[in-house]
Point group: C2
Chain length 222, copies 2
DNA sequence: AATTAAACGGGACATTTGTCTCACTCCCAG
DNA sequence: CTGGGAGTGAGACAAATGTCCCGTTTAATT
């Protein structure tokens, strides 16, 4: 379930469940719809929030801004993904920023209501467990290969994911996702182009799936 | 709750709960005790397991071994920490290796039993939610500063944690925890010694808490 | 159409990190 | 006591990455 390596995470099952709750006059009366323009903050790191958001439409990025001015993007969240749940569970200040990349609409559920839902709908509880488990899973895998493989490799994976998902992010965001500077990002792109692995022009991987897998295998052996 | 930045994670509440279950003849009859010698594998990456383990005693390390021969340690798990829960929730192969650093004893609970416990004990369910949330929280924070700050800074934090917890790991493990080579680890240690931040001899931070905080602040401003 | 801000691409140089290597110590099994 | 293996420490060099900078392109607004 949702174990596939995604740069942009989505969760249809979760979205459907919340959608249904929202439709239900009884259960849904504390659930609000909210909209955010592209670039707007849904959640600000360090602030206190009293609701969880489930993304109904649009794409957001979830990142920590360090004091030295650098950002690290953990994930791009799309429809069906929840944010602010850590804060609901542990009652702390917000871990990260969430900002809208495209225009976004969300379901907003107050914390106490959210916790009550978990208790009254075991199915919902289990969906959340799966979401959290999947996040840990993904984060571990990603962190590990970003630390232990050259950037070139991580970048290739990133581009492959981007291509397969038909989504496109700014270079700045992609660099922040990889935890490197934009300069390094560009440099690596150039290297890959010179090796004829990428289009001269853009970001399209100039390889078949088989070839890409071979590339990656080669990296792993080296 | 357990938000403090720990290198060695422990969880008293969780341990107590499982301990009680184990004592209870009715509920505990499917819970086994298992022991592992130092260095033994509790869980092998990629394998299939059918139980979750809750550490009763001892220290383990949780790491991914990449194909290029490098390891990345996510966390050191101590008493009360659970492992194998991701696999119970998502039914996949094991994400990571767990090996015993010291002799270890664990409670072993079969997957189906574990999932049943979550349903029948809301309190247990909530404890698990908190554990998962705390892991995400910690992982995000750590990943971010390891990517965005110089190694020197991450290393200082690591040593401070080690000192405050009175735990000591091999250099190899500490390097794997930081995602760097042992060589870099040593080099950075040497630099810190030359700057009179560390003991000439060993790994003790040669600063008061206030001084250390100042150091870290200086890093953050730079 | 003109203006501005942001994104992009890359040169030059400094710094950081990895790889390879060798030497030293310690401990333990033979 | 002794040889081997693991852990440790560091020199020398190569490779990767960051910083600073500037010119170009693109997109949005006036």
């Amino acid at each position: 379930m949702s174990h596939s390596q995604d740069m942009l995470r989505t969760n249809t099952a979760f979205l459907q469940f919340v959608e249904q709750l929202f439709e239900d006059k009884q259960a849904g009366n504390t659930i609000q719809l909210k909209s955010f323009a592209a670039g707007a903050h849904l959640i600000r790191q360090g602030s206190i929030i009293s609701q969880v958001y489930i993304i109904r439409e649009g794409i957001t990025k979830c990142y920590i801004a360090e004091d030295n001015g650098k950002d690290y993007i953990f994930e791009f969240l799309g429809p069906g993904e929840i944010t602010g749940e850590l804060e609901a569970i542990n009652k702390g200040a917000c871990l990260s920023n969430i900002t809208a990349i495209t225009p976004v609409t969300v379901f907003a559920i107050p914390h106490d209501r959210f916790m009550a839902l978990l208790r009254s709908y075991p199915e919902f509880n289990e969906l959340l467990l799966k979401v959290l488990a999947a996040r840990i899973y993904q984060t571990c895998i990603r962190t590990s290969y970003q630390q232990l493989y050259p950037v070139e490799y991580a970048l290739l994976r990133l581009l492959a994911l981007e291509a397969s998902q038909q989504t496109f992010f700014s270079k700045k965001d992609m660099a922040a996702y990889l935890g490197i500077s934009v300069r390094s990002f560009n440099r690596t792109l150039k290297d890959l182009r010179e090796k004829n692995i990428l289009d001269k022009k853009g970001l399209n991987i100039d390889l078949s799936k088989e070839q890409l897998e071979q590339m990656i295998k080669r990296f792993e052996e080296a």
